[in-house]
């Protein structure tokens, strides 16, 4: 078959199951777009390359499949880097294809030339600079294999323009790249783990994004029920347990509930599954689960012992390991430990906000008007932490947020990817007035594709989490955290051809309900109290049990 490099790349992407690619064309990827235009691959024209990367992430995070995006050389590639770094930190499988200046011009400071290869090394799992069209037959399946294997992540393919136009004859197309089988844990190790679980009086499951990636939520729930083991999760692990499950203690860490963090403090065994002991989850590492022995399972060997040395560990696929472990453990009631947990919950109840306008109340209302199967994308800041605390996340891959990198601007373009991958589901964006502005240009993409996305802007006129920290830890010296200009987001939405409405305090339930039940995109600019803080909060450097509950310290 006759190809040029560009049409070969498109054909190889299709063979990987890619149906939608997001991106922006430019000088160095024009041949790629020419080939794209001749194919049946659907292209979504975003308005900033970063949004193309987040759109791909929205597809990948909501489906578990690898997604792809395109950018041109120079500024296009540089704009994409934030979304790639974000995918690296949250282990999201994606393949980015960037145009590059022709091979002969590389290194000459040519127009729109940057060292994309060099700049993407630290933020990708791996990257390729393709030197001949023939290499694509190996590089593309290899890129997808790498993105999907082991700990998933982003891979970048940098494709010089001369390689895109080079003619090539291919006799046989390669098999699509797919995930390598994950290693199985040793039977003796699993037996030891089962004995540790049997011997523990206060065991706790600590679960995160690795459980989601592995699809092991059923196995986690089964282990929890069978052995009476309460479950705490990370931000990336929300949805593994049902919010109504009495064994689910919710999110740990900086903004976890006090009872949850105290439970970790008392545990004598921590069963850490698909987690990396991130600093936002552990607080001061020395003070994290100080009484606990640790079982650690992760697919990335480098995570074992990186932060906390486990007593026993396995580098494995969590789902397959738990299937076997669950056959080795005995049914245990653990009434005493569960009673202790109940007592902790009574001692440290989650406070009911007195203020009708409190974001928790608003979130509860929004949840009531949103179908249970909805996908929620959440930006970064106070609204993110309130949502992590209060949103009823019932399934995995339904609460998408930038956990590791904490990238403001994530939610809107990620929602586009979720909406494209799930055209029959409701997609809700929870964002703040700070985060929304960072990728607000994507309202054009949403309007153009008539994506059914409900955008809820929690508008407090501040970079709220910055303001909160300045109040609590910088003597109330507020620097650059207040927005003096307050744009009319409803009017801006209308300018993009999207209905918008402003909702002031007290929040009118009727308007919220109507807006969320009307088909098509909408922007709801919702006023929230300007100086409300996220509590509890563990002060930086402190251990999780030292969380403060109000601006006067512990309430």
């Amino acid at each position: 078959m006759q190809f040029n490099g560009a049409s070969l790349l498109i054909e190889l992407l299709k063979r990987q199951g890619i149906g939608i690619v997001a991106g922006i064309p430019g000088g160095a990827n024009l041949p790629l777009y020419d080939a794209l235009g001749r194919s049946d691959l659907r292209h979504i024209l975003v308005r900033h390359e970063q949004a193309g990367g987040f759109l791909a992430q929205g597809m990948a995070r909501s489906t578990g499949n690898a997604a792809a995006c395109f950018a041109t050389s120079g500024p296009g590639a540089v704009n994409l880097l934030t979304a790639i770094a974000d995918a690296k930190l949250d282990s999201v499988p994606m393949v980015a294809v960037t145009g590059q200046v022709s091979s002969g011009l590389i290194g000459t400071d040519a127009f729109q030339e940057v060292d994309t290869y060099g700049m993407s090394i630290p933020v990708t799992k791996h990257n390729f600079l393709v030197r001949t069209a023939a290499e694509l037959v190996e590089v593309v399946p290899e890129a997808f294999r790498l993105a999907l294997s082991g700990r998933q992540g982003p891979v970048l393919i940098d494709l010089p323009k001369d390689v895109q136009v080079a003619r090539i004859d291919i006799d046989r197309m390669p098999a699509p790249g797919s995930a390598d089988p994950a290693p199985d844990p040793d039977g003796a190790v699993l037996a030891s783990m089962a004995r540790m679980i049997a011997a523990a009086e206060r065991p706790l499951l600590y679960v995160g994004g690795g459980v989601v990636a592995s699809g092991a939520e059923e196995e986690v729930r089964a282990l929890s029920v069978m052995c009476g083991i309460p479950v705490v999760c990370t931000l990336m692990g929300l949805g593994i347990m049902s919010p109504e499950d009495p064994l689910h203690l919710g999110m740990i860490g900086m903004h976890g509930s006090r009872a949850t963090n105290f439970a970790v403090d008392r545990a004598d065994l921590l069963i850490a599954l698909g987690v990396r002991f991130d600093d936002r989850a552990t607080g001061s590492v020395a003070g994290f689960a100080p009484r606990a022995r640790v079982i650690h399972m992760d697919i990335d060997e480098a995570e074992i012992g990186k932060i906390r040395r486990p007593d026993i560990s396995a580098v494995c696929d969590v789902k397959r390991a738990l299937k076997r472990l669950n056959r080795l453990v005995a049914r245990t009631a653990r009434e005493q430990w569960l009673a202790e947990i109940d007592a902790l919950r009574k001692e440290h109840p989650v406070p009911v906000p007195a203020d009708e306008a409190h974001p928790w109340t608003l979130l509860n209302r929004l949840a009531r008007f949103t179908p249970e199967s909805s996908i929620v994308t959440v930006d970064v800041g106070q609204h993110q932490m309130w949502a992590a605390q209060a949103w009823p996340v019932r399934r995995t891959r339904r609460f998408l947020t930038s956990g590791g990198l904490g990238t403001m601007g994530f939610a809107l373009p990620a929602a586009m990817g979720a909406a494209l991958a799930h055209p029959h589901e409701t997609v809700l964006v929870l964002t703040g007035d700070g985060s929304f502005l960072i990728n607000i240009q994507e309202l054009a993409t949403i309007a153009e594709n008539n994506l059914d996305i409900k955008i809820c802007v929690f508008n407090n006129g501040h970079l709220g989490l910055v303001r909160q920290q300045q109040e609590l830890f910088y003597g109330g010296r507020y620097v650059a955290s207040r927005f003096d200009s307050r744009p009319d987001f409803a009017a801006i939405a209308r300018g993009f051809g999207i209905p918008g409405c402003s909702i002031r305090i007290p929040h009118d339930e009727g308007i919220l309900a109507r807006a969320l039940s009307t088909k098509g995109p909408v922007v709801l600019d919702i006023e929230v109290p300007e100086t409300e803080n996220v509590y509890p909060m563990v002060p930086p450097g402190k251990s999780n049990v030292e969380a403060i509950s109000s601006n006067r310290g512990n309430a």
Binding site: G118, K125, H126, E301
Partner: protein
């Protein structure tokens, strides 16, 4: 050099223009110390043998694990037995460089 005992990590690496950046970039990004590098092509130029002089401290295990994750790195061996002679042989070159400073 720094008072801390060093050891040598030997890598076999796929030989291509970007491989060195991946390895040195890992050390700078993760804040690992790298005291010296020796690198030469083997296997008819298909692979490179790389000798890294690193500190033998509690971070060595993490360095080795992170190196193993690099796509171009085919093998990682900590060679306590090498006695740094591979670097000592460079003494003459280094003293010349020293004299030129």
């Amino acid at each position: 050099m720094n008072g801390l005992p060093n050891t040598i990590v030997k890598l076999m690496v796929k030989n291509h223009p970007g491989a060195m950046s991946h390895i040195t970039g890992l050390f700078s990004r993760r804040g690992f110390n790298l005291e010296g590098i020796l690198c030469a092509p083997v296997d008819g130029g298909a692979q490179s043998a790389m000798y890294l002089l690193v500190r033998n401290d509690e971070r060595l295990e993490q360095i080795v694990k992170q190196l193993r994750k690099l796509y171009d790195v085919k093998s990682v061996v900590v060679q306590d037995d090498l006695d740094h002679t591979v670097f000592n042989r460079m003494e003459r070159l280094l003293s010349e460089a020293e004299a030129a400073v």
